[in-house]
Symmetry: C2
Amino acid sequence: MTDVARLAGVSHQTVSRVINGSPHVRPQTRERVLKAMLELGYRPNSVARALVTGRSNTLGVVSFDTTLYGPASTLFGIERAAHEAGYFIIVASLRALDRSSVADAVERLRRHGVDGILVIAPQVEAADALLHAPGDAPLVAVEAGPDRGVPVVAVDQIGGAASATRHLLDLGHGTVWHIAGPPDFLEARQRLEGWRTTLETAGAEAPRPLTGDWSPRAGYDLGRRLSRNHDVTAVFVANDQMALGVLRAMHESGRRIPDDLSIVGFDDIPEARYFLPPLTTVRQDFDELGSRSVHLLLRIMSDGDRLLSSPHVEPELIVRASTSVMHRAR
Amino acid sequence: MTDVARLAGVSHQTVSRVINGSPHVRPQTRERVLKAMLELGYRPNSVARALVTGRSNTLGVVSFDTTLYGPASTLFGIERAAHEAGYFIIVASLRALDRSSVADAVERLRRHGVDGILVIAPQVEAADALLHAPGDAPLVAVEAGPDRGVPVVAVDQIGGAASATRHLLDLGHGTVWHIAGPPDFLEARQRLEGWRTTLETAGAEAPRPLTGDWSPRAGYDLGRRLSRNHDVTAVFVANDQMALGVLRAMHESGRRIPDDLSIVGFDDIPEARYFLPPLTTVRQDFDELGSRSVHLLLRIMSDGDRLLSSPHVEPELIVRASTSVMHRAR
DNA sequence: GCGCTAGATGTGACCGCTAACGTGCCGCCG
DNA sequence: CGGCGGCACGTTAGCGGTCACATCTAGCGC
């Protein structure tokens, strides 16, 4: 910067003004400075700037180390929104899920000088850990979080599960079975809850839910179990990958979908539409989720208000060919 | 830091020494400093440290804005490896693909003070852009890159495509059809090349390849076209998502897999194993890819050697139920 | 012609840390 | 017993910017 100033015959401060677009620089001076910068191949050093301003234009994202479709897509959505707002994203992923590793990741990001932090914390424990995180950085929980104390941006899982369940009931099925996700995932719990209360409201009996780990493999194993029970005519599966496993299990058992059995998934992964048969599922708009979280965080950063929150992102039921009216002759 | 020094009754430099684990501090002094740090809730400011040392412990990743399985998984692999090496990852994703936007992303990362840069650049154009990128930061191309001038870590696409094709030939198919990825993807080109040369070597005639855009939808559309041609008994599809579309198209046309038609995909996405039928495919080890790129980058950073390279990561053919010996009575 | 004001530019200080060197002390050796 | 080297610690000077303020110039009204 000093070199540029010297070459342009001005002070370093004027160079700084040019960089920051200050209006108090004569066009002619600005030109000279710009030319000098170009000539010397000068690049402003944002580390130095961050040191003095205290702002780094960087947002930290704590993410559970996973390639699950949801968190991965959310991360991309966040990146996109942050980019548009002129922010960089710096990622700290978690190996373990205990309280201290979440706190540790938050701490590392803070030290690194991020202006705000987004935590993709689908697990209950991770969400709780946020309450004990080092306190003085703006922070938003994405996808799930503790009930209060931390602003949360999330998809309405209960509503999504309810619409899936209701869809199946509306098709004439007496009741709906459920393959849930792992109970340490808040989303899994909420989908379970949405399913259960919908059944109860409709006066239908809720069968005992089965529990998987989100993987197609789990869906397959549990699907085989369900396939032996010919009372089962409708299944709401907590995510598309497990639903794929169920599809496969049913196919192997000779149970036709949707003729013998209707299935609904959750997520609407890109493949879902091409499953055999195409899967009815609940779409989550992860892009919107990421975008809202970033904007909420930015608002908190500028307002200083720690307790803002954002309305739920509404999921959408996508009806395809894996569900149909119940017409087994029984 | 000054406060800590004062409270501990030492100079700020001694505090610095404690932080950096210098051996030239008496245990007793160290204790006092540590206690003072704790008491004041002191956190070292890594921005200030980065400013003076010129190293930020941060690696930049330029990534094409996509949720394609490959790039996304690679990103996670990179994050994991970087984390283990004590580095943070900062992501700059690309919207457009022209030369200048790649250069721009690299530039932005440099300004931000990253110590080195990884570019996930599967597209030919992006790869070429690297040659014109601002030159003085250690940089590694991941997944694909220009032939030379930039160190590259990649999977052996040609070898993978060859083993897929050979597998089909070995099963007795006279020739193998190919659904390729978009030609601006280097991987797509290489898989095409591996397929073609394998056929040529075997003396089989190469049918005209079809071209899709990686999506299940494209696979479906092209699959329908192929389904009308009853000469087709074996298809090598350039990725699993398109293969899924093909599977579906064949199913609709009543062509049984693998009895009438064998299909091989590429990637081994988690779902592939649960397709109907389970998909024979070529697995890429993205974790290994990410890890190797990070280590290569770190080596370049410490050695100063710009032209190191890394051997190909070898893909692995996973044989499942979508391929079988040709046994059409024709 | 003079004083005043606003705009353009320059001058330190400082952000929080580390590198390089300086200083006092002790123990060891010849 | 003097000198020398190593250890523990302190002092000073930046890293590359921005902020707050001082200074200088030109334009304006009277």
